[in-house]
Symmetry: C2
Subunit: 427 residues, 2 copies
């Protein structure tokens, strides 16, 4: 069965994935030059940089996602379909999905990344991840369910298991989540669970390298390490997770009893099964400067799933929202140019800076000539993230929530809506 679409006399671009890359591309494509079809398994775009706030009860899930159809309303030759892609047949320029098949003139793979457990099946089966909105909601429920359970056990060992949290990986996601958990510990949980000794709650970060936020400047790494320690977080550098059975985390340095281990230590590309392309060590599709797969002028990959071979000693750009967004815009302009018989331009990343926040009042910001941390950085972080949210309504709701947390030292959203059933692995 074919996916139901108007047949018009314009070349069809099919984009798979509505993350930052796919969204920006679809926005940039000229409606007069192309019929654009965007496929995604969800009907929303997720603002991934704030997922940790959903996990830690700071924001509602609806605040950080945005309905795809709303972004493109009024664009005449744009069509969104909620679909999961099964297979690509490049010879016939055809895509099979769970809702039917679709032909293309141009194909763009923008499927992003998934957690990389480097083959450690035991960890994969028992760890929680934070790669989707549903993951974040599940994590929120697990955290709160842990405290409900801890309250109800008189077995101190069991209680320790429930109140220990291990985050693996001290990249932005790991560090920001740790900071948010520390805030929960400090301001919220003692009030919610007066019967529990909240000092028992321990937050651990396990990091294989010798610093936190290793993607950022040495200044930011040092400063954020200081912030994490001030918040009472146990930072284990030069330490690797070896095993996790759902009850005990075994690292190269120690063992930590915990029911909750959150894996943020690695991601890999999530390419479509059967695509005829070279994959690098991180499972990313190797592309050239124009994001072309092989030498094709019809198949492209952008965002986390793509690695531009000439960059970073063959490893491609870092997997960042800003890279993905810029690649989406560049490819959009290139396809528009192609259709107008003009030349494409090679992708060039403009680093506008990186930042991370570690709890209340603390953040680090790296700009090219200026690196700073502390309250002012935190303020800038807040303002920028508010502005980056895709629409005014979301911004207002997020602002209300943040202002509330700020003045009341409280978080409104501590609800176990999706109950998560976990296999019981009592040690």
């Amino acid at each position: 069965m074919q996916i139901n679409l108007p047949q018009i006399d314009l070349p069809r671009v099919v984009i798979i994935g509505c993350g930052f890359a796919g969204l920006k591309l679809a926005k940039t494509l000229d409606d007069k030059l192309f019929q654009t079809v965007l496929l995604d398994k969800n009907n929303y775009h997720t603002f991934q940089p704030l997922m940790y706030q959903v996990a830690s009860s700071g924001l509602e899930p609806d605040s950080i996602v945005y309905p795809v159809r709303k972004v493109f309303k009024g664009k005449k030759h744009f069509h969104f379909r909620m679909a999961t892609v099964k297979k690509i047949d490049e010879a016939n320029k055809n895509i099979s999905t769970d809702i039917g098949s679709i032909s293309y003139d141009y194909l763009v793979i923008a499927t992003g990344a998934v957690s990389n457990y480097f083959g450690m099946a035991n960890i994969e089966n028992n760890a929680l991840s934070m790669k989707s909105l549903v993951d974040s909601l599940d994590l929120r429920s697990v955290i709160l369910q842990n405290f409900e359970q801890a309250l109800n056990t008189s077995d101190l060992k069991e209680r320790e298991n429930l109140m220990n949290f291990v985050i693996v990986g001290a990249g932005a996601t790991g560090v920001e989540l740790a900071g948010a958990l520390a805030e929960l510990k400090k301001y919220i949980l003692p009030k919610d669970y007066p019967d529990l000794d909240i000092r028992m709650m321990q937050i651990h970060i396990v990091e294989a390298s010798d610093k936190v936020l290793s993607n950022m400047s040495p200044h930011a790494s040092a400063k954020s390490l200081k912030f994490l320690k001030e918040l009472g977080i146990n930072v284990w550098l030069n330490t690797q997770l070896k095993d996790y059975d759902g009850a005990l985390a075994t690292t190269t340095k120690n063992t930590i009893p915990t029911k909750t281990l959150i894996w943020t230590a690695g991601v890999k590309g999530d390419p479509i099964h059967g695509i005829n392309a070279t994959l690098d060590r991180s499972n990313r599709i190797v592309v050239d400067n124009f994001n072309r797969i092989g030498s094709s002028n019809h198949e492209f990959a952008i965002g986390d799933v793509a690695a531009i071979a000439s960059e970073n000693e063959g490893k491609g750009h870092a997997m960042l929202a800003s890279v993905a967004g810029q690649q989406g815009v560049r490819l959009g302009k290139n396809l528009n140019a192609l259709a107008r018989q003009k030349d494409m331009k090679a992708f060039q990343y403009t680093d506008k800076g990186t930042m991370a926040t570690i709890g209340r009042f603390r953040a680090v910001v790296d700009l090219s000539y200026f690196k700073f941390g502390g309250f002012f950085a935190w303020f800038i972080w807040m303002f920028l993230h508010l502005m980056l949210l895709i629409d005014f309504r979301n911004r207002l709701v997020v602002f209300v929530n943040w202002a509330w947390s700020f003045f009341k030292y409280d978080r409104g959203i501590r609800l176990i809506i999706r109950k998560v059933k976990r296999t019981d692995t009592t040690s």
Copy 2:
């Protein structure tokens, strides 16, 4: 195993259920006189009157629920436990739950109501209901998934199935939901699904009696019927649903092909299994004027699950949030009085009026000496519901969402977060 609780020298009141009745009771009980234990299967209180707005993408779920622990923070002898009650042993004053057992001095059953399908298993298995937050979220997903699917079928009959909505019952829930769906049809869906002929979307209300909102005044019934018709809703009065197999709704008057039938036509009490009490025809626990079960001074029932025998020809008060809340307060005062060796007072319901809203700008309000409808009623409805929300943060977020919908003719929250898998019953 016993539920872990501090042992203190105060009588223990155990309240089962944190709806309006349980919440108000727990708030009213004097912390110096009682140890209060509140049990609920969720860790939040739901503002049920706005659930239809979650179902119709008007509000996020987090806006209409409120974490129980937050309500009672600072109350020293109050304890919340997330638990599902299994059985009550009145002889030994003991309750069994899924997290352990708990003894009581006073027991209050405030478990509310569930949908009543009057024994029609086929309808029960295939209909959607709106009795919990999770129900409402599921309904939101189903509505949006229907349109995604409708877009992708060229079979006109299948499309009609997906775009027909049948609401059974023209009480407040049914009427308000129908109005919200009509607004979706008018303002949102044509923009989101320009490829679909939205005129195919038909909203039906099936009502067994001869009027809508039969709990309200004749004026409100007539006015709201007019409003429903203005919105293009098909109202079938004097009509009963006979059968629904998931694809075809059969009523005493016609058959309507539909994949989505929402049951709001009846509720019944949801008492605890094995409680030694008289149940009335609606499965409610029969209580006296003091909400006592039998002649016990230790076991009580309040809210939807309780029917005061002397009221309304033995049928008890209507199942309304306002009745439940007032019973909670009265019983709280009565228990406080008992502990101070004073007399209890019989429950007396104060009717402050009822209201319902039917889409944008339209509402009906019944006060004892003044009944009105239209724009002003709608404005009053909005203001009152904002004020009734339990805290300022929720109020602000809801206000932002409503103001946004009002000025932009748009709803921000059209997200399929919980995908609902439905048994396929293609006709």
